[in-house]
């Protein structure tokens, strides 16, 4: 309620990995309602955001889809500690009405001609998807079918445009896909955890450490957890 500091000053600049774009609208809306702090959200690939932050981007917070990018930033002195606010879940999306008895059957079915997987080199969900496939032991058999997407977002676009028949993506999009596709949550014991890490940044003079802290606290609040669960994240 302190209007004297000026509206400009109270804007919290949050950099988010592209895959957080979807739930982020709801999270910031509720956050602003509760605290009066407005948010400006930038989404990009985690790698590019990291580069931006290292080059002085005036972000207050970084919400990454994994731990390696925030860890890199801590190493170079742009932050202190990462808080894990949720765990992502891996999902498999495929056309509605497809009959199958197991994930293996589905993936090996000859009607499923292309399967999109995020790039494990750049996308956290790619690492998990690849791990999952290796675990169930059919990765090699899929070689001719696999289409690598740059990010979860791109994999989603492949599904949306029907460019592929099935895709590994984040379960957080379940509500978007439900109408036109089947979405299954894959067994979380079959892949490593997808830790969603938030980092308070110390990149410039204009940072808002107090508001950032408020946001981090909000992430573990009951209201926010509800939102995160609704969007298909796990909370511990």
């Amino acid at each position: 309620t302190s209007t004297e500091t000026g509206a400009e000053d109270k804007v919290l600049k949050i950099a988010i990995a592209a895959n957080m774009q979807y739930p982020m609208d709801s999270i910031t809306t509720v956050f602003t309602e509760l605290t009066g702090i407005t948010c400006e959200v930038t989404s990009n690939s985690s790698g590019m955001l990291t580069a931006q932050i290292q080059n002085g981007a005036p972000f207050d917070l970084f919400l990454s889809a994994n731990m390696s990018y925030p860890e890199e930033l801590i190493k170079s002195g742009f932050g202190d500690c990462i808080s894990i606010y949720a765990y992502g879940k891996l999902a498999l999306v495929y056309p509605i009405g497809t009959k199958y008895t197991s994930v293996e059957d589905l993936l090996l079915d000859s009607d499923i001609r292309r399967i999109a997987i995020p790039d494990e080199r750049t996308a956290p969900y790619g690492i998990t998807a690849e791990a999952f496939l290796r675990k169930i032991g059919i990765r090699e058999k899929l070689t001719g079918k696999v289409v690598i997407g740059e990010s979860v977002a791109q994999v989603n676009q492949y599904i949306e445009t029907n460019a592929v028949n099935a895709a590994f993506t984040s379960y957080s999009y379940v509500h978007k896909f439900e109408q036109k596709h089947e979405v299954i949550q894959l067994d979380p014991t079959m892949y490593p955890e997808i830790e969603q890490g938030a980092l308070i940044l110390k990149s410039g003079k204009k940072n808002h450490p107090d508001e950032s802290m408020t946001f981090i606290e909000f992430l573990s609040s009951e209201e926010c957890r509800k939102i995160l669960v609704h969007f298909g994240y796990n909370i511990k």
Partner: protein, 221 residues
């Protein structure tokens, strides 16, 4: 649905085009008419901004002009001017990136100006800038037009560079970045809505400019 990004885009495209038009004309003049032998290198060099992927160009831009860089820090300290994460930043980035789109057609237009026109100018004792404004630019009208449209249109669509240099502050939130966000949020309807508006508005604009400039004999300068 937020229409502010369109205004930012319009502003960016307009400023970029105007600035580049002003910059490109003397450069192109030099490239077209100078007898300096090294100009072929300069000319080739000026084509390079589009060789790099926009994001990569943006990365280097941040390294050299960002707040952490020497130059960037200096300007921020003493002039309160920041070359990154600001409208000025994406404008400079766009100008650098679109340089080839403006320079190349204008230079080729100037190269095709007949020798006797140039000689008449010398006989009349006109200065270079006067000749350029009154004679050469009207002659190469269609080449100018080509440079303007390519620059304008490309700035509207560009987003890798803008996203990298600008982040997404209110002042750097151009329509193409907004579309990118909507696509990331799987709001394909909204994204399409934006895209269609962008296409229609641009189309109307280009047609209108076309109609104005195509009027025979119209002189732009």
């Amino acid at each position: 649905m937020d229409y502010a990004p369109f205004l930012v885009t319009a502003k960016l495209a307009l400023f970029t085009t105007v600035i580049l038009f002003v910059i490109a004309i003397p450069i192109s003049y030099f490239l077209a008419f100078s007898r300096w032998r090294g100009k072929i290198f300069l000319e080739s060099l000026l084509m390079l901004p589009i060789i790099l992927p926009p994001t990569v160009l943006g990365f280097y831009y941040l390294s050299f002009l960002g707040p952490q860089s020497g130059i960037g820090a200096f300007f921020e300290e003493y002039f309160d001017l920041s070359f990154a994460f600001s409208f000025e930043g994406i404008l400079i980035g766009s100008v650098i990136y679109c340089l080839p789109f403006m320079i190349s057609p204008i230079t080729s237009g100037l190269r095709e100006i007949p020798r006797n026109t140039q000689e008449s100018i010398r006989i009349l004792g006109k200065s270079r800038s006067n000749a350029l404004r009154k004679v050469y630019l009207p002659i190469i009208k269609t080449s100018l037009w080509s440079g303007i449209v390519l620059t304008f249109a490309h700035t509207i669509g560009e987003f890798g560079l803008v996203l990298m240099i600008g982040g997404k502050m209110d002042e750097t939130n151009v329509a193409s970045v907004a579309i990118y966000d909507e696509m990331n949020a799987l709001n394909y309807d909204v994204a399409s809505h934006y895209a269609v508006i962008m296409l229609i508005v641009s189309f109307i604009l280009i047609v209108t400019l076309n109609l104005i400039l195509r009027k025979k004999r119209s002189i732009p300068a």
